[in-house]
Amino acid sequence: MTLFKLTIANIKMYLRDRQALFWAFFFPLLLMTVFGVMNFEGSGKLTLGVVNLSPSPVAGEFVGSLEKSESLDIKKDSRENEEAALKKGDRDAVMILPEDFLADPAKTSPYSIKVLVNKGRPQQSGTALSVLGSIFSEMERNMTQKPKLFALETEDVAARNLRYIDFVVPGVVALSIMQLSIFGIGFTIVEYKRKGVMKRLFVTPLKPLDFTLSHVIMRLLVSIFQVSILFAVAILVFNVNMVGNFASLYLFVILGGLLFLSFGFALAGISKTEDALQGLTQVFVFPQMFLGNVFFSTDAMPEWLQKIVVYMPLNYLSDAIRKISTEGATLVSLQRDILGISVWIIIGFILAIKLFRWRESANS
C-alpha cells in the first residue's frame, strides 16, 4: 500500500516537473526530427548539374528524360552558377551540353560533352560518370539502331529499403531509455541527498525497498510512455515501418530500464553533488552514445573496436530494438541481446546494492 501510494506520488511529482518532461519527451523527439530531416545518406540520388547550351528541342527532350531517372537529381542552371554550386559541394558532377548538341540529326562526328566532377566525392562522381556513360551508350544504340546484345535484368531482393531514419529511430529510442533512466534517477537521488530529503525519509518507518521500487516502477512507466510516443511520431510523421511486435519491444524497454536504473542508483550512491554525478554519468554514457550502435552502425567501425563495443550495455539494447523494429525479430533470435542485458542487469544490481545505502544516503 505504501509502495502504491508512493509510486502515485512519484508520478504526480514527475508530471509536475516541466524540466524533466522536456528531457524525457521533447528532447528525444527533437533529436529524431533532426536526424529525420537531415537524412544523412541523402536521397540516394546523385546530384547532377546540367548546363544546356543547345537551343535544340531534342536536347531539351534529352534533359527531360534525364530528369525522369530515379538515380539522378537534376539541377538546371547557367554554367557559372552550376560551377559555383559544384565548388560549394552541392553537386556531385556538372555536365555541360555544347551549343550544337543534338541540333543537327545528320551530324556524324561525336559531340563533345564536358563533365566537371567533384574531386572531394570521388565515389559519387565516379557513379555519376558511369550512369551518364550508360545513358549515352543506350542513346547511341537507339540512334544507330544497333540490336541489343546483353539484357541485364535486375531484381530488388530486399523487400524494403532501410532508410537512415529507420535505422536511427530504434537507436534514439534505446538512447532515450538510457538517458531517462540513468540521469532521471541519478539526479533525483542526489538532489534528495543534498537537500536532506533522504534524511527526512530515513527517520520515518519507510522501507528502503519501497522507496527504491516506487522509483523503479515510476521510471519504467515513463520509459514505456516515452517509447510509445517516440514510435508513434516515427511511424506517423517519418513513415518508419515498425515490423516487429510491441510486446517484445516493451519487454526490452523494461529490461533496458532496469539495467540503466540500477546503474543510476549506483552512481547516485557514490555522488555527493549533482556535479559529481554529472561527471561520473558522462563517463558511463558518453562512449555509449557514440559507440553504442545509436547513430552509426557498429559495422562501420574498425574491427578491433567492434570487438569491444558489442559488449556495451547500450549496444545490446539498440541492437535488439532495431532488430525488432526493422526485421521483426522474435525473442528467440534475440537471445544474445537478452543474455547481454541480463548480465549487465546483474552487475548493475550488485553495484546498486553495494553503493546506494539507505543510512549513508541519509547522512551525506
Partner: protein, 311 residues
C-alpha cells in the same frame, strides 16, 4: 518510568585536522526524560547536540552506550522506534512537487495511517497553504510544516532540532507558541537550541552541553540560581548615595557607580529592592530610574565555561 533513557552515550568522529585521530563528539552523555516533559539541550554549535539527537532518532549508529525510547532499544529495534517518534530535522527539505496536503498524507502513509492532512495544517496555521508547494513557503512556514510532518504519527516523543535557527523574531515567537500548544497537549518534546531565550521559555528541564559533554542539567530557574545567582539593580538618583552605608544591606555583594548611575550586584533582588526604596524614602532621595537585570542562562553558560554563548 522515563520515556526516554540515555545511558553513557558516546560518538567518535575523525578529527578534521588529522583524520587518523578520533575525538568524542558525544562524550558519555546520560539523561532521562519523563513523559510530558519538554527537555532542552542547550549549547553552542558543535557541542554535540544534533549528534546526540540523531543517535536517538537512529540516523547515527550507536556504537557505545544505550538509548531506550518508550521501552524500546534504539540500537536493537530502530524500525519500532521510528514508528513512535516524530522528527523535525535541523534543515528540512521536502519533495519539490508535492502540495502540502499531499505531502502530509504521504507521510501518514509511511506510518500506515490515514491522517487528516488538513487538520494537521490547521494546527500549524498553514491551512490556507494546503495547495502550495513547499518551495513557496517562507522559512517560518517551512518549519511549521516540518513540525506538522513530525506529528503525522501522533508520536510519543517529538524531536525538534534547532527549530528556530535562522528565523526572524516574529516567526520565532510564532513557532514558540506552536511548541507551547503541542506541549500543553502533554506531548514529550526533546529540543536542541542555542538560543537562551528559547530554552528559558520552552523547556521544563535543560541540559547544557559543551564539547560533547553535559556540563549541567536542571530546570532553567535552578540553573540560574545555582550557577549565576547574581542580579543587577541599576538606579539613578537626584543626589549621590552613601555607598559605604548601602553596602551593609544584606545580599548586596558590591556597588559600582558611574555618572549618576549605581549598579548593585545582589543575590536576592526582591529583598534588596525593598530596602533600597525604603532607604531613599527615609533620606528624601528621589529615584529617577530603576532597572533590575536578572541573570540569564547566558550568565550560567559563562560561569560554567568561561565563554559566551553566541548565536
Amino acid at each position: 518510568m522515563p520515556i526516554v533513557e540515555v545511558k553513557n552515550l558516546f560518538k567518535y568522529y575523525a578529527k578534521p585536522e588529522n583524520p587518523k585521530e578520533k575525538f568524542a563528539a558525544v562524550d558519555d552523555v546520560s539523561f532521562a526524560i519523563e513523559e510530558g516533559e519538554t527537555f532542552g539541550i542547550l549549547g553552542p554549535n558543535g557541542a554535540g547536540k544534533t549528534t546526540t539527537l540523531e543517535m536517538l532518532e537512529g540516523l547515527k549508529v550507536i556504537e557505545k552506550g544505550e538509548a531506550v525510547i518508550a521501552g524500546i532499544s534504539v540500537k536493537k529495534d530502530p524500525m519500532k522506534v521510528k514508528q513512535i517518534i516524530g522528527v523535525q530535522l535541523q534543515e528540512s527539505h521536502y519533495f519539490d512537487f508535492l502540495k502540502l496536503k499531499e505531502l502530509l498524507d504521504l507521510f501518514g502513509e509511511f506510518y500506515h495511517r490515514k491522517i487528516d492532512g488538513l487538520e494537521l495544517l490547521r494546527e500549524v496555521q498553514l491551512e490556507d497553504k494546503k495547495a502550495a508547494y513547499t518551495r513557496q513557503l517562507s522559512g517560518g512556514q517551512k518549519q511549521r510544516l516540518s513540525i506538522a510532518s513530525a506529528l503525522v504519527n501522533d508520536p510519543k516523543v517529538l524531536f525538534l532540532d534547532e527549530p528556530t535557527t535562522g528565523l526572524d523574531p516574529q516567526a520565532r515567537h510564532n513557532l514558540w507558541d506552536l511548541v507551547k500548544k503541542i506541549k500543553a497537549k502533554g506531548k514529550t518534546i526533546v529540543l536542541t537550541t542555542h538560543y537562551m531565550e528559547e530554552a528559558q521559555i520552552l523547556c521544563d528541564r535543560l541540559a547544557i552541553m559543551d564539547h560533547g559533554k553535559i556540563i549541567a542539567l536542571d530546570t532553567p530557574d535552578n540553573l540560574v540560581n545555582k550557577y549565576a545567582p547574581i542580579s543587577h539593580i541599576i538606579i539613578k538618583t537626584d543626589q549621590p548615595l552613601p555607598n559605604e552605608e548601602l553596602k551593609n544591606i544584606p545580599h548586596v555583594q558590591s556597588i559600582s557607580s558611574e555618572n549618576d548611575f549605581y549598579d548593585f550586584w545582589v543575590s536576592n533582588p526582591e529583598e534588596v529592592l525593598l530596602r533600597l526604596v525604603e532607604f531613599a524614602k527615609s533620606r528624601g532621595i528621589k529615584i529617577l530610574s530603576l532597572r533590575v537585570e536578572r541573570s540569564t542562562l547566558e550568565d550560567v553558560f559563562l560561569s560554567l565555561t568561561g565563554r559566551e554563548l553566541r548565536d
